[in-house]
Symmetry: C3
Subunit: 468 residues, 3 copies
């Protein structure tokens, strides 16, 4: 098309994208070759050696059988869940699924290295297995949350650069929280959701486009794009119990976390439908709310889900999360854009930001209320510092609260730096007139001939003409 | 739009839906707070206490690892399977997936309470874990089957009210069958499919709309809506082995049930394609048959699947189920509507009704043919009453048959009562002119501007004009 | 429509398809009744007998718990992955998902018999359980690969006939490789991908249509059909780790295979995006590449994945696979069509053919480099012939290489025979003018009235008229 050629210099990805992808992958391969080794459960020699030493250890005790089904559910959330959730835009489906695919495939490799480096080398080597795969997917999830804020306004090169920095800072923050402060955050209310959301919000603030309304007509859904997005929503919703429980301890914690998340999400869904109808003058439901706010219940039990929150507590938390999320979409997002110049395409502040903070607070309170009376011998399976003798519920609650502050600080600082790096005019970012548009970076079918054209040029006026 | 404003009084959900959702969720939360407790496998104290008592009990024996993968498959069937299967209507995709989501999220909570109440309190408390989650999803499935009969003709408030009653009666019927009569029905040919189908058919009979043909033009599919529906079909088909085996005993019964279902469905699919082409004058396949009848094989081995039905027997049952289901769609559904005034939008009588009855009969026969020769020590793992010494195959077969009669009675009686309750003019049901239409309860994109409008007003005549 | 009636004699499926389906299913049922029995893990008597003999054997050791989650992932790949991957064509979505469904449902039954027959009868009986189910799905995958080559140009009757022959020859080839030559190929780089690809390529060569350009305008995607195809792609990508590890030994091999595949695919994805942009003059990404080439990394570690390939090695293999696959789509496919008259609709040569051969070579080299130093006691868990004392790495590598040659020979020979059988003018194949068209074999909605028509007749010129 006409604009395509005029934009050719600025957004052409022919050299930039291949060069960056190939360089990154070569670096990754070299670092993996130097640093990464199979862990005890994936190594042919080590697994079978250990097995001989102890007769009670059998193949079914390989961590694969405890974690792999959860891993696959998490994997679906990362690639189908996030990918399709963002297809709601009418002309940005290829980029939503495609760029999600690209930056996730990169991030999970880079995260393996960064998390392995920070969370403990073994004689200078990073050991990998299904748990590291889940953790890498978790870190990737954080990047995809930030992607939601800048969706439609960034080139794939920018997104990869963002992922490089965000994964690194994620690993640092996670290290501070889990290893230094020793807090609980199995489902990542803080490490994944709060971090990813506020990082992304600062990035999109720095990348603020005053003239974004030139692409406003594409910044909305059409009927079928909303149905594609519901595929993403429903998969995220269904598998969130697996997400929150994927790396908890075996046995009761894993089981309990999945169940708490299940009830939180169910209650959240009723709140979402209730408030979506309530805030609409005609009482009509809004797909944006259903697609997003119904998931806030999973975010909000990401920290406390493994604790003895009970189904009762989970449902209260889920109900609150759904409520604030819908209200955020309705009343806060427009203000964030008009007053604070935060253009948050997917509304990640409502789905991940506020519910993430809520989850951190709920986690701190639930941890502060923990007692051996309630947990029995299970206490040390949830709170690792029981074994070291340093545990007491009040200080544990305090550390959980401190962790929220650390996470917010890291996200704001990291997002600021990364935002300014992404502002450099070298990445082929889309012009204001062509945001939310696949055609810039993709061969879109039907541009030359046929049916698709029809969608593009027919306006309601023309349709009036037709029907008269 | 014009009709929107004239209908505003009757279908506006602004107060009704929020009020009902919030009241229901508050009641649920209070009841969960009062009545629900973690079971032995999800409770930090109880799981670890028991573990200390017996050295042989290890984390991998937590029921989570036996049941959770099956639970997730069932969960996908409930939310993606049922949800997308019903998106076949051209303008009802939001409602199909969305209302499915809402009533499932409510039903699984309410079912936890009702099933927990009937199936055995522990010192006045309901114990929850992955098995109760699967059972709650099963009960939810029954409500969603009934939803299929009234699809497009009911408001979300009506659907929630229907769910309240149907879940309750489901639990009563399940209690009579499993606890009083002590029969087998792991995959729910009777409890889920037969009950849900006949309950829904009676409801839709009571809600009969003589002028429904005013919405006839929307009561059909378009090309892409049929593809969305196939997502639902395929997920239901693939995961049905998990559905039928999810709550059978560990070991051989779970394994055998999954395999029997796998073969039944494969045979059913060939029957479906065969008869779909055969009943069409031009030999063309009908998406309605493929989307629905190919699943009947899963329904029809819902009772006998855990027994020694053999792959051979399963294939015969599946083949029969597919055959009667296609023939039902072709020849019976039109008669049900014209003669019996049963407007069955999804044809649940063909997918769940007749195959459910077939499954009950097959279950009774297979149970009556059971013998220690064939089952060995495995007999008591399938038929619980072997241990109590009261087992004999003929009476067992008889009880299975009685259960079918009880289920039909409960469904007809319950559907009748519920139907009349739903007939009250207070729920904002859609007018005859606006059935099968998302725009009544949803903000539909493109109503004000742009492409979607095009779909609405262009008629074949106008298109003729265009191309001349 | 007009063409519908003129074509009626040749493509009417009313008798042919039902007759074939019913005859095949009846034969299958008879053979299953005669030959198939529950194996030790699915039989009520056998499983519980064995359990009593040995106290250490418990229900959790039933192969169901080791294999069933993998089976379900493989099942999703076969029915959703392959099915939706092929929906990219604008007017062939019903056939892609539907015929995929039909021939898969047939093939898995027929494969159970053929594989059971060749891989070892037990007193004249075929024993079935979850492993046979996975193997049957694998064999089915091979047929679906071939389906990709002839997509849009064959009737469902032709496809079923192709499946009969291909499944049979697959089982023979698999028997030669795994039982006679004793090689490794857990993920089927050779048995599934190389075999299926070259078989299909020869079939489509024999079925060469010189006038296929009469249907050229339908041999391409539209916007939403590409999004449906991405559902297939992403599911294949996510679950490939389960595919390659599904039938490896328990413990470290299963765990290691899944992880190697995970890393291979991640690296492959970056290569795919890099080269897709690089080979496009405007640097735009091509959906065909993303949908297909990003999967080549899974194919290419199908043999070596269970060995000590390391994450490092896997990533190199994946990167290579993605690269050759994109280059194949860009430069080789057009040549294959113009010079060799191979019309390969989905480009299976690029996704399964070349990456399959690469996988076979990588497997041979990795096997030749194996040593007890690296594998320890785990050596015999990967290479079965260690136990028989006949193992040495060089000859093992040699046998792996020979297997590739055998597979290619079997595929070429089998495809040739089958192609000529399929050329008989009795199957109702579509005419050159109506390839890639659902309307030939399906009731397509909106053909008589309404919106769909609009898509059909409006051309850009008419649209121009409209907007002027």
């Amino acid at each position: 098309g006409a604009w395509g050629s005029t934009m050719a210099e600025s957004t052409n990805m022919r050299l930039r994208l291949p060069l960056l992808c190939i360089i990154l992958e070569v670096i990754l391969i070299i670092l993996f070759g130097t640093l990464v080794e199979y862990n005890d459960d994936t190594h042919a020699k080590l697994w079978n050696e250990n097995r001989t030493d102890s007769d009670t250890r059998n193949d079914h005790e390989n961590e694969f059988y405890y974690r792999y089904p959860s891993f696959q559910d998490v994997h679906v959330m990362i690639f189908v869940g996030f990918g399709f959730l963002m297809t709601f835009l009418q002309r940005y489906g290829f980029s939503s699924v495609g760029f999600n695919f690209l930056i996730a495939a990169f991030s999970l490799q880079w995260a393996t290295l960064m998390q392995g480096f920070f969370h403990g080398l073994h004689h200078g080597k990073i050991h990998v297995g299904v748990t590291s795969m889940i953790n890498a997917d978790f870190c990737t999830g954080s990047v995809l949350i930030s992607f939601g804020a800048v969706l439609g306004k960034t080139s794939p090169v920018q997104l990869l650069v963002m992922a490089i920095f965000e994964v690194t800072l994620f690993a640092v923050n996670e290290f501070i929280l889990l290893s230094i402060l020793g807090v609980n955050d199995a489902g990542g209310s803080m490490t994944i959701h709060t971090f990813g959301a506020y990082f992304g919000l600062v990035v999109t603030r720095v990348l603020y486009r005053p003239n974004l309304d030139k692409s406003k007509h594409r910044n909305s859904s059409v009927y079928h794009s909303d149905l594609f997005a519901m595929i993403g929503t429903i998969y995220l919703w269904m598998f969130w119990p697996s997400f929150n429980s994927a790396i908890t301890n075996y046995g009761d914690p894993q089981h309990r976390t999945a169940m708490n998340t299940y009830y939180s999400l169910a209650a959240c869904t009723l709140a979402t439908f209730a408030f979506s109808a309530l805030v609409n003058p005609e009482g009509k439901l809004d797909m944006v709310h259903i697609q997003n706010a119904a998931l806030a219940g999973g975010v909000a039990v990401g920290t406390a889900g493994e604790m003895m929150l009970t189904a009762f507590g989970s449902m209260i938390v889920g109900f609150l999360a759904g409520t604030i999320s819908v209200l955020g979409y309705k009343y806060l997002t427009p203000v964030l854009e008009s007053k604070l110049k935060i253009q948050d395409t997917c509304g990640i502040h409502n789905l991940h930001g506020m519910p993430g903070v809520l989850g951190a607070v709920v986690g701190a309170v639930t941890a502060a209320l923990a007692s051996p009376d309630v947990y029995g011998h299970g206490l040390q399976r949830v709170f690792a510092d029981v074994e070291t003798g340093k545990w007491n519920p009040q200080s544990r609650g305090g550390f959980q609260a401190i962790s929220l502050a650390v996470t917010l600080g890291m996200a704001l600082f990291g997002g600021l730096i990364t935002g300014f790096i992404l502002k450099l005019p070298i990445y082929g970012a889309p012009p204001d007139t062509h945001c939310f548009e696949d055609g810039l970076y993709w061969e879109v079918p039907g541009e030359e001939e046929g049916h698709q054209e029809l969608y593009e040029v027919a306006t309601p006026n023309e349709v009036e003409k037709l029907s008269s």
